[in-house]
């Protein structure tokens, strides 16, 4: 029989969702907020997890980046998902819209990122309802980091950036499945991040226009897709300002290449002519 682990003791619930079904308010027994996951009963849990990881083939290459500048936050990502050497999708949404003023990026396990970002969005909404004000980026990233820390060592693979705009201005946090939570001005996550950092760090200035910042982000992701086999597809660039996020551009990387490096017509030295036909 599979063991059901109830982790509600690790949760800090400001409010617990209630259902009104006519008998008056009472707590919902199967509240989606309580993370209780079925675990396999086996002698070697870690070994089983390692083997299932192989089966699920969760490897994903990615390039995502985000940086703060004077007009807010720019967030950009590619859109390729790979399982080992096979490209499972070229149209993955790696920038997740948590709410109208907060974005999360996806790197690592696709299902892990999708599920926990959706869960974070729910928690942020609950915070708004019970506190009558929006949650701060620091608070949201802390909620996520605490959840991920409680699953530390169990094989979750998440490297995400929480970017947004709150009362203190633009906010950017890096959160990962090891439990790290770092505040910063510039981050790039994924297998292509090294290439993206090269372009990003070189071109970054705090005072830029939104178009310049977007072009820097686009160029950095493009550079990463050029050199990293596991990154590709489309470059999506978002800007988060005081009024919330806005998608600025989505460009196919293949087309972007010829935009940056147009085909040069090489001068022809000598035209090839047909060989003279043999006379009878």
């Amino acid at each position: 029989m599979a063991m059901k682990v109830d982790m509600s003791a690790l949760e800090t619930n400001f409010s617990i969702p209630c259902l009104d079904d006519g008998d008056g308010m009472h707590l919902s027994a199967d509240s989606p907020d309580v993370p209780s996951m079925v675990l396999p009963t086996c002698a070697d849990f870690d070994g089983f997890q390692a083997a299932t990881k192989d089966m699920v083939k969760n490897k994903r290459g990615t390039t995502t980046l985000a940086f703060i500048f004077d007009k807010g936050v720019i967030v950009a990502a590619d859109s390729r998902a790979s399982m080992g050497g096979y490209i499972s999708s070229q149209t993955v949404r790696k920038i997740i819209e948590i709410n109208p003023y907060m974005l999360g990026t996806m790197a690592g396990g696709a299902a892990d990122c999708q599920f926990w970002h959706r869960n974070l969005g729910n928690k942020c909404r609950l915070h708004e309802l019970s506190n009558k004000r929006r949650i701060s980026i620091a608070g949201a990233s802390k909620l996520l980091a605490n959840i991920l820390y409680s699953y530390r060592g169990m094989g979750l693979s998440i490297g995400t950036m929480i970017a947004g705009f709150d009362e203190k201005g633009p906010g950017l946090y890096y959160v990962d499945s090891e439990g790290a939570r770092l505040v910063g001005n510039r981050f790039s996550v994924g297998s292509g991040s090294l290439y993206a950092y090269g372009i990003l760090d070189e071109g970054y200035r705090f005072n830029m226009s939104v178009e310049e910042a977007a072009e820097l982000a686009r160029r950095a992701i493009y550079g990463a897709t050029f050199r990293d086999a596991a990154s590709g597809g489309c470059v999506s660039v978002y800007h988060v300002g005081p009024d919330g996020w806005k998608k600025l551009s989505g460009d196919d990387v293949g087309e972007l290449h010829y935009h940056y490096y147009p085909v040069q017509k090489t001068p022809v030295e000598q035209e090839m002519t047909d060989a003279p036909s043999t006379s009878a």
Binding site: M37, A43, N58, Y86, S89, T91, Q114
Partner: protein, 221 residues
């Protein structure tokens, strides 16, 4: 597949494909059930009708798939009782994702393709990995023959990415009969080169009028 004492999964093979059109959706799967180099049966359906406009095809470990289909069908019935209507395809898509993720540490060994019509009547296909990450696409193939079939579908059906801005129109230009013919062709090809795919092909077409089912013979070797 018993490389460990407590390895509880096996792969029963098979391939599932789905194609979405402007007002139809085609979901197809072969009917071969294998274990190792043996065929257990030539007549096992991998397709489950979850709602009137929503059909799920899964390949992988049929024990987990049977449990998953039963679980989703029961949840859909509960939804009907509670909301007085059948579940829409996008709603079922998220339910399936959550169901798969709740077994994140002991996964369902199921590679799923969900197809149907959305609330506007347009075809939709959702493709999943084993732990619940999902994406709405125009077409998908999962299972042992998927690496043989996907390149062909990309060649015939690839449309501008939904991530492009300014958005470009991404409707599959094929008609319903053309899509069904394409599905028959890709399965015939996959059967040639994948030992786990063959025997019979079950094709389910969902459109405004309802759901129709068709069976095509495939190579049995």
């Amino acid at each position: 597949m018993s490389r460990r004492g407590d390895w509880v999964y096996e792969n029963n093979g098979g391939t599932c494909v789905a194609i979405a059109g402007a007002d139809y959706c085609v979901v197809a799967a072969d009917t071969r059930l294998s274990v190792g180099y043996s065929i257990l049966t030539r007549d096992h359906s991998k397709i489950c009708d979850l709602a009137d406009k929503c059909v799920l095809a899964s390949s992988g470990f049929q024990g987990d798939i049977k449990a998953l289909h039963k679980n989703l069908a029961a949840r859909e019935l509960l939804y009907q009782h509670q909301h007085n209507k059948r579940m829409s395809c996008p709603a079922m898509a998220q339910l399936l994702s959550n169901t798969l993720y709740y077994k994140r540490f002991f996964p369902y060994y199921a590679f799923n393709v969900l197809g149907g019509l959305d609330s506007e009547g347009k075809g939709c296909v959702f493709t999943y990995d084993a732990v619940g990450s999902y994406e709405r696409t125009g077409y998908s193939a999962q299972g042992t023959g998927s690496t043989l079939i996907m390149p062909v579908l990309d060649n015939q059906l690839k449309s501008p990415s939904p991530l492009l801005l300014p958005a470009r129109d991404a409707v599959t230009p094929l008609s319903e009969s053309e899509a069904v013919d394409l599905v028959k062709d890709v399965f015939a090809s996959a059967t040639e080169r994948d030992i786990y795919t063959g025997d019979k092909l079950e094709i389910v077409v969902i459109n405004k009028a309802g759901t129709t089912r068709e069976y095509i013979e495939l190579r049995k070797d």
